[in-house]
């Protein structure tokens, strides 16, 4: 039943399936229709479902995301695509002050079946304004959920789950993952949407990552294994809520924690991971939990500098080794 597909294809099929299943679902965003989506995610859907269900919008992020809020209030299940997370700052009021708060402020009268999809991340020399993840901006918002699929299989299910949920959910994708391939089994059941996945077992250290950093972490784990170091790699899959049990159980076994994140570390998503696990697993840890993150710089355009600014496989390998060596004699 398993097929190798691109991440964008998995998302595309998920949208197709949900559009077919429920006519309250509609998709909107810049160039999602006729053009087929900047990253092909909506390819073919305009022809199949027509302009009302696959709506090309003007460049008005604040209002078309807010349109999604209004439509959700009226019983629709809108899926808003923001072309990249960098533009979502313009839609933050709609997401944080409207979508996340209306269900609560209305005393529970209005569910908010809104999905906002967007890619984030450092891609290929897109420079400072186009190379952010900004995920932490969506984490400190009660009433909002944030999923970060790292594989086609997760992209497929998490998008479908998000669409079916009555809560507002941000689905954070990644520019560089769209054209990566992986297995997709559409007949396989779905794990709970926000449960973390142990992608690789290991006894020496817990590596927590999400989105594109999972791949780098797995590759680092492979290299480390060659050197006799077994790291456990956890893919968070979700940044709000975070599946603490899976993480804590791992740290209790490995006694070491490293969080790998693509954005700069100061007050990034990793801070929450380290803070909570540091608190919860304090007496289990052999060494200080650490974060490996991007440099504290806007991302430079120059390709070498860009690469030097974000975590790399060898950087992960080195940090793990440092931690395990340093951890022996405090």
């Amino acid at each position: 039943m398993t097929e190798e597909v691109f991440y964008w294809q998995a998302l595309n099929r998920a949208l197709d399936a949900e559009l077919a299943a429920d006519d309250a679902v509609f998709v909107l965003g810049e160039d999602v229709g006729l053009y087929g989506g900047s990253y092909r995610v909506t390819e073919g859907l305009y022809a199949k479902y027509g302009e009302w269900r696959v709506r090309d919008t003007p460049i008005s992020e604040g209002s078309f995301t807010g349109l999604g809020v209004g439509a959700a209030l009226a019983g629709m299940r809108p899926v808003v695509e923001i072309m990249t997370i960098n533009f979502s700052l313009l839609a933050l009021d709609a997401i944080v002050n409207m979508a996340a708060k209306v269900p609560f402020m209305s005393g529970g009268q209005f569910p908010m079946p809104l999905v906002v999809r967007m890619p984030g991340g450092v891609a290929k020399q897109l420079a400072a304004q186009h190379s952010q993840r900004l995920e932490q901006m969506y984490m400190n918002v009660p009433g909002l959920r944030l999923a970060v699929p790292s594989t086609p299989q997760d992209a497929w299910w998490q998008l479908r789950q998000a669409i079916r949920s009555d809560e507002p959910i941000v689905l954070l994708e990644h520019e560089l993952l769209y054209f990566s391939k992986g297995p997709l089994d559409v007949t396989a059941g779905a794990p709970p949407m926000h449960r973390a996945a142990v992608r690789r077992k290991g006894a020496d250290l817990t590596l927590v990552a999400w989105s594109r950093m999972v791949d780098l972490s797995l590759r680092a784990a492979g290299r480390l294994a060659e050197q006799g170091i077994e790291v456990e790699v956890i893919d968070l899959r979700s940044l709000r809520p975070i599946d603490w049990d899976t993480c804590a159980e791992s740290v209790q076994r490995t006694h070491n924690l490293l969080v790998v994140e693509e954005d700069s570390g100061f007050a990034g998503a990793g801070a929450e991971v380290v803070a909570t696990l540091g608190e919860r697993c304090f007496f289990d840890l052999d060494a200080p939990p650490r974060r490996l993150a991007a440099e504290e710089l806007p991302i430079p355009y120059n390709r070498n500098l860009e690469a030097a600014c974000i975590p790399t496989v060898s950087g992960i390998v080195q940090t793990v080794k440092e931690m395990l060596e340093g951890g022996e004699n405090p």
Binding site: M76, S106, G108, E167, D243
Partner: protein, 350 residues
């Protein structure tokens, strides 16, 4: 217009005034907290507009929305209970004055960040248009709110996709303390609609019958699937921007130019510290209630003690509303969690 409607509208005008003045009083007593934005002076807009709407239409409003909610049919007690932050409030005490919601009456909320009503309204309009329903959305906003980017963004989309949205500007000439000619290059709001080829007109927001008629025409047109419409109503708020604002930035000459006795207001205002002076409140110049009763009298539509009867009824309704609010229990932390989790259902997250 039949007499029943006329009397109902008069009732709503009087209720609006009495309710708001009482709310001011309850605020000074400490029963209401937060920002409290009152509507006296502007009643003709809410009453005229909403009496022209169908129950199947949707309403989206701002933080100055108590009267919209009541004219839409929300019981005064439920609104007052919300202002008191009580469990029987329309938003269960979670929203307060600025966030009244009523799903059943399609009252889609009061929004407190200026400029949020537009996207919400076009979203609902989108849902209607997609399903080809004969419904419309009424979207309220102030004169200050038209400078928020969402105004033009949303108008463009509404026009582009012919969404059934009636944009209603309550132009009271002020964005808190900033007068319209100091916040907008074009002070006739309806002219902005030209940027999006949306039909628009301006009408006297102090004349409830004119408001009603203009709204009926606009909604009729919207129901022909011609797309959005914009109405600008010129009006005036007698009070400060909110209970936190004494309104002293308005020159006396201006307030006096609108002068005419509004006894209810004067009486209440005198009890309020740091609030518009009696003179200022007396500025009921083109007061919409007086104007309405004058018109009705002239047409012979207020026979005998009709007015007094309605006034008495309204007074009682307000009393009852306050009593209801007082009697209602405080919400609990469990209520708060339940409000947030309304959309969780049985979903298993982790």
């Amino acid at each position: 217009m039949d007499q029943e409607t006329r009397l109902q509208m008069l009732h709503d005008m009087l209720l609006a005034r009495a309710f708001e003045e009482r709310a001011a009083e309850e605020y000074t007593k400490g029963n209401i907290g937060g920002f409290l934005h009152l509507y006296p002076g502007e009643e003709a807009v809410a009453v005229g507009v909403l009496h022209a709407a169908e129950p199947s239409d949707y309403v989206v409003s701002t933080y100055r929305e108590h009267v919209h909610a009541m004219v839409r049919g929300m019981p005064p007690g439920v609104v007052m209970a919300e202002l008191f932050g009580k469990r029987d409030g329309c938003s269960r005490g979670m929203g307060g004055s600025m966030h009244l919601f009523d799903r059943e009456r399609r009252f889609m909320g009061g929004y407190a960040i200026v400029g949020e009503t537009y996207p919400v309204a076009i979203g609902i309009g989108y849902a209607i248009a997609m399903r080809k329903l004969p419904e419309a959305v009424i979207c309220f906003f102030g004169d200050g709110a038209v400078n928020q980017g969402t105004f033009h963004e949303s108008l463009n989309m509404a026009a582009l996709w012919k969404l059934p949205v009636l944009f209603v500007c309550e132009n009271n000439h002020y964005q808190i303390g900033t007068e319209i000619h100091r916040h907008s290059a074009v002070t006739e709001v309806y002219r902005r609609a030209c940027a999006h080829r949306i039909p628009a007109r301006k009408a006297d927001g102090m004349d409830v019958f004119e408001v009603h008629q203009a709204t009926r025409m606009a909604l009729d047109q919207i129901r022909q699937d011609t797309g959005p419409y914009l109405l600008e109503f010129e009006t005036y708020r007698f009070r400060g921007h909110s209970m936190a604002d004494p309104g002293t930035y308005r020159p006396k000459v201006e307030v006096q130019a609108k002068e005419k006795e509004d006894p209810v207001a004067v009486a209440i205002a005198e009890t309020l510290p740091g609030y518009p002076t009696a003179e200022q409140i007396a500025a009921a110049g083109t007061d919409s209630i007086t104007r309405m009763t004058d018109t009705m009298n002239a047409g012979g539509h207020l026979p005998g003690d009709t007015l007094q009867r309605i006034e008495a009824q309204v007074a009682q309704e307000v009393e009852e509303a306050v009593a209801f609010a007082q009697a209602s229990p405080e919400p609990t932390m469990e209520d708060a969690r339940a409000a947030l989790d309304c959309n969780r259902g049985m979903e298993v997250l982790i």
